[in-house]
């Protein structure tokens, strides 16, 4: 997998490079600001960019702006935002195009090396990886009262929340202390209520999550 990293703090940039290389991924470029990110994506056509939110020159939300620009100009490029804080507005901006291949994680999660690498791989494969914090914040935003999500049972919501975090069916079953079969039943019920017909299973999964997160 070919990765571009955008992170201005050398300490963290070097850490992520080492971590991803250790797990057999190729870091084709590591840049320090948003403009350089867009150029690096244009030049290297990576599978995924791992992007810090706050970078020079203004140290506010350069990373998010650059990530949105990357997805507009190079559709299909996966973006994983890593940040020291969660801002649901940024996550909403990223999700706005309704496509998969996005993630937003707190940098704390990088400490779980395997989970982090899994998240990078999943997002690069078109999936999602949302930090539980991001999910929680997105869910407290105003939602439509009459959306299809209203039809979900509380249990189905829990399942969908865990799906948004990017967990597998087995992991969801473990977290909710139910059988894999029960999880599968909940998921197909969710797909039905959200009007997602049987086609590509993975794609349906992403769409369900996006519907959920966009409220």
């Amino acid at each position: 997998m070919r990765v571009v990293i955008a992170e201005d703090l050398a300490l963290l940039r070097d850490g992520m490079i080492r971590l991803l290389r250790d797990h057999g991924h190729e870091v084709v470029a590591a840049v320090e600001d948003g403009d350089a990110l867009v150029r690096a994506v244009a030049g290297h056509k990576p599978d995924i960019c791992v992007v810090d939110v706050r970078m020079p020159p203004t140290f506010t939300d350069e990373g998010v702006k650059a990530a949105v620009a990357v997805r507009e100009r190079f559709p299909g490029t996966a973006v994983l935002i890593v940040s020291q804080y969660v801002e649901d507005t940024y996550a909403a901006e990223l999700l706005a195009d309704g496509k998969g291949g996005v993630g937003y994680l707190l940098k704390d999660r990088i400490a779980d090396v395997r989970e982090f690498v899994d998240a990078v791989e999943r997002v690069a494969g078109g999936g999602t990886a949302m930090d539980p914090e991001v999910v929680a914040q997105l869910l407290t935003r105003h939602r439509r009262d009459d959306g299809p999500l209203d039809e979900l049972t509380p249990r189905e919501r829990e399942v969908l929340e865990l799906m948004a975090e990017g967990r597998s069916n087995a992991a969801i079953a473990g977290a909710l202390v139910v059988t894999d079969g029960a999880v599968e039943k909940h998921i197909s019920s969710i797909f039905g209520k959200l009007g997602l017909t049987v086609s590509d299973t993975d794609h349906r999964r992403v769409l369900a999550v996006l519907t959920y997160l966009q409220g």
């Binding site: 850490g15 940098k107 704390d108 779980d112 090396v113």
Partner: protein, 421 residues
């Protein structure tokens, strides 16, 4: 010299000084009242005689200006007895306004008409009182000096009702003269108060405008303080984000990788653990520095001098400290002074190429005076964000901050902060 300055000397000296000041007040008043009377009479007659023409309006503007100038001198004369000049406040004209707009603005300002009133009153009242005072004191002086005149070859001396023809009489008169000194002093004191009673209300800005001006100042300085505080919070957030918080992320990352490698590559895992420990230590140092930057514990515990000695010891520059602080200023004042010094030292270290810095701290007349002078290259930008932040912080406490930084001439920061509780 302020009244009451003689508090440490004998009371008699204080009384004599106050009589001396009264006398000086009226001596100067004799001159200014003549000027004032002339000015007033000329002003009124010239302006009225030209009133129907445009020239009359121009003349009025000129005389408004002259009355203002006269009032300014009179406010200073009042300082002879009040200790400080009467405050002056006129409505601010618009810059670049034409003469007619200025005339209208001046005519609309009550202070202009009060100046006019005092110029006239001073011409009569000030003059009369000055003549009385000078006559009184010269009579007393004459009586006291009679024995000298007696010895001197004067043809004849008379007090009107008796001739001074014996030394005994002369000495008796001198005695009476000496007894009359306090009487005369008290009468003059009363006359001075009389004049001030007419003068001060006319020359002092009305309380309302004083308050309005104070509100303006407070509004500005409060906005400045709020901005400074917001900027400070932002700086702290940035320091945390880029410093300790990032260190902790890196530390967690190193620990995670170490855990990952524990079985497959114990040697590298050990290396990662050592790195993690280093990062933890650095994070602690950064947190400590940050906390010290927010409010250093030593400042609260031991006061300004100790806190500044402590940062001076950590500075790469040769910092000498001259402190004269008999008591501790309020905490907010200490905090502001501390930041003036730390910011000045940081600037001197970073930008100026200075070798030595002199920090002076003194508590003078209820003002905490802080001065930081370096021998660096000068040319500091007084509008730079650091200095603007400092100025706002100092102004929020009604203090002032000035920066002198000629290119090549070192930089001196001078702050004065009122320190009364």
């Amino acid at each position: 010299m302020a009244p009451g300055d003689g508090g440490r000397t004998m009371p008699a000296m204080t009384v004599l000084k106050s009589w001396g000041r009264d006398l000086a007040f009226h001596c100067v008043g004799l001159v200014t009242s003549i000027v004032g009377f002339t000015l007033w009479v000329t002003g009124v007659s010239v302006t009225l005689s030209l009133a129907i023409t445009v020239v009359g309006l121009l003349a009025a503007l000129v005389f408004f200006w002259l009355f203002r100038w006269f009032a300014r001198i009179e406010r200073r004369r009042a300082a002879l007895v009040l200790g400080e000049p009467i405050a002056e406040r006129y409505r601010r004209g618009q810059p670049g306004a034409g003469w007619f707009a200025r005339l209208r603005a001046a005519a609309a300002d009550p202070a202009t008409w009060k100046d006019f009133a005092w110029t006239g009153i001073c011409g009569v009242l000030g003059f009369t009182l000055a003549v009385i005072v000078l006559s009184l004191w010269s009579s007393v002086l004459y009586l006291i000096s009679l024995p000298i005149w007696y010895w001197a070859p004067a043809p004849s001396m008379s007090l009107g009702f008796t001739d001074i023809d014996t030394l005994g009489k002369a000495l008796a008169c001198a005695g009476v003269g000496l007894l009359l000194v306090p009487v005369c002093g008290l009468i003059v004191r009363g006359l001075t108060r009389l004049e001030l009673a007419a003068m001060v209300p006319l020359l002092r800005p009305p309380r309302g405008e004083e308050l309005a001006e104070r509100v303006d100042v407070l509004t500005t300085t409060r906005a400045g303080a709020v901005d400074a505080q917001a900027a400070e919070l932002q700086r702290i957030e940035r320091d945390l984000h880029d410093g300790a918080q990032a260190r902790l992320v890196a530390l967690a990352m190193s620990l995670g990788m170490a855990e990952d490698k524990l079985d497959s590559d114990p040697a590298q895992a050990r290396e990662l653990l050592a790195e993690a420990r280093g990062e933890a230590r650095t994070a602690l140092t950064e947190l400590r520095d940050l906390a010290r930057g927010i409010h250093p514990p030593i400042l609260a515990d031991r006061g300004l001098e100790a806190a500044i000695t402590s940062i001076a010891a950590r500075s790469p520059l040769a910092v000498s400290i001259e402190a004269d602080l008999p008591s501790r200023p309020p905490a907010a004042v200490e905090g502001a002074a501390y930041f003036v010094v730390t910011e000045a030292l940081a600037n001197a270290t970073k930008h100026s190429g200075a070798h030595a810095v002199l920090v002076r701290l003194a508590l003078r007349d209820g003002l905490l005076v802080v001065e930081v002078a370096d021998d660096g290259s000068g040319g500091a930008d007084a509008q730079g964000s650091g200095l603007v932040g400092l100025r706002r912080r100092v102004e929020a406490l009604d203090g002032t901050l000035s920066v002198v930084s000629p290119p090549g001439g070192g930089t001196t920061l001078h702050a004065e902060i009122p320190s009364r509780r």
